[in-house]
């Protein structure tokens, strides 16, 4: 699970994928997850980060993260090559 290289991320939540030319906008939690992905953090580590920073339980974090990763894959921002 890896964020595609060269993806540009701005503080406003604007994401640009130079290899496809697509642009996206994300919310603060989404932006944080993308940053963690860029640091090569694994799913479990991201869930830990999320539950540590917000008052949410593990299952909410896991459910929301799984859904978000699915969308990132759909948008070709994430690939599954380990």
């Amino acid at each position: 699970m890896q964020l595609n290289k060269n993806i540009a991320i701005s503080d406003s939540g604007f994401i640009f994928n130079p290899s496809t030319g697509d642009s996206f906008s994300t919310n603060p939690v989404g932006l944080e997850i993308i940053r963690l992905l860029r640091e090569n953090k694994k799913k479990d580590a991201i869930i830990k980060e999320l539950t540590g920073r917000f008052s949410i339980d593990d299952s909410t974090a896991e459910k929301d993260l799984s859904d978000f990763l699915l969308v990132l894959r759909n948008y070709q921002l994430l690939n599954d090559h380990e």
């Binding site: 701005s10 406003s12 604007f14 642009s23 906008s25």
Partner: protein, 349 residues
């Protein structure tokens, strides 16, 4: 005399292959001899070319689509106006006019934003579906037409029409049918796309000629410039056109604008039949995308519209240059991603 500084908001910045009238209107205003115009562009999409034309558009904002409703539009204009203090607003899309017409009074009284639009009744009266009645009321010939709701009505059309006929959609699309079978075919095609009713119009053969015109709402035609398309794109839009010397056409245009007391800009589309008769085919309730030709011919219609919106008296234009051409060209702007990011995420540029 020094020029007065004003701020004008303009929509229709989609200067693409089937262009909106926004950019031509802005060019006209930038050339005003009376006003020093600051332009606020209003866009619906983040790729409208006008957004990135910084020599013409001083500041841009995204606005909600007409389908989002009047209250959304009002809220957005309120926000924009607090920053920009707009003096005049010129909407340039058919689809947004309904909302802007309904808001005209409130924009003026609550925000001090003036506009100069047709009344709701005028706007409704020139719809394709009732254009024949519009013609009768305003003493201009319109090819005989009729609304139909079912393909079974086509058989009976023989009594009132002679083939070929034009089968038209309520909003867009038109096809010429030479036989009832073709008419039935087009009926189904067009109604599947645009719904009912379908408008059946008597086909008139001849040359298409267009007029860009401006009415003062009191029965005076402030200006009118006739044009014939010299070349059209595959979308049927003018690629190049030339201003005509045609007194009869000007006279008819004056009559339509005068009798209907048209208020604001408009485009009249005529067909000049082989017998030399003029038939009104369509009346668009705003400036056409080729309105800048009028400026080139000596009639700055957008400037005059701004004057009238501000409550100033305007003397009708009496002359224009004949034989002037407009030739449209496309132009690739180079834009930094940061600009696209700005308009996309902040809704302002």
């Amino acid at each position: 005399m020094s020029k007065r500084k004003i701020t004008v908001a303009v929509t229709g910045l989609n200067n693409i292959d089937s262009p909106g009238p926004g950019v031509p209107v802005i060019r006209a205003l930038k050339e005003s001899l009376l006003f020093d115009v600051r332009i606020v562009g209003l866009s619906y999409e983040s790729l409208e070319p006008g957004l990135y034309m910084h020599d013409l558009v001083d500041k841009s904002y995204q606005v909600p689509l007409p389908s989002a409703g009047i209250s959304s539009l009002l809220e957005r204009l309120h926000y924009i106006n607090e920053k920009e203090e707009i003096d005049v607003i010129i909407p340039n899309f058919d689809a947004e006019l309904h909302n802007f017409i309904k808001l005209e009074k409130q924009l003026r009284s609550d925000f001090g934003i003036a506009s100069f639009l047709p009344t709701s009744e005028q706007f409704e009266s020139r719809h394709k579906s009732v254009l024949y009645e519009f013609g009768e009321a305003n003493d201009v010939k319109v090819p005989f037409s009729k609304m139909i709701f079912s393909a079974s009505e086509i058989e009976g059309l023989k009594k009132e029409f002679t083939y070929p006929l034009v089968i038209k959609g309520k909003y867009y699309d038109a096809s010429v049918a030479a036989t009832p079978e073709q008419a039935v075919n087009y009926f189904h095609k067009i109604s599947a796309k645009w719904g009912l009713p379908i408008i059946v119009q008597q086909f008139v053969s001849g040359n298409e000629v267009n007029v860009t015109a401006l009415g003062d709402g009191k029965g005076n035609c402030i200006g009118a410039v006739p044009m014939r398309k010299l070349y059209i794109t595959d979308k049927g839009k003018a690629w190049a056109g030339i201003s005509l010397d045609d007194e009869k056409l000007i006279e008819i245009s004056n009559r339509v604008i005068g009798n209907s007391k048209w208020r604001g800009g408009c485009e009249l589309e005529f067909i000049k039949s082989n017998e030399g008769e003029y038939y009104l085919l369509e009346m668009n309730p705003r400036f056409p995308a080729w309105v800048y030709l009028a400026v080139g011919c000596g009639q700055n219609h957008p400037e005059a519209l701004v004057q009238m919106a501000l409550g100033e008296k305007v003397v009708p234009f009496t002359d224009y240059e004949r034989g002037k051409l407009f030739i449209r060209y496309s132009f690739d702007q180079i834009v930094n991603l940061s600009e696209f990011e700005k308009i996309s995420t902040l809704g302002e540029l």
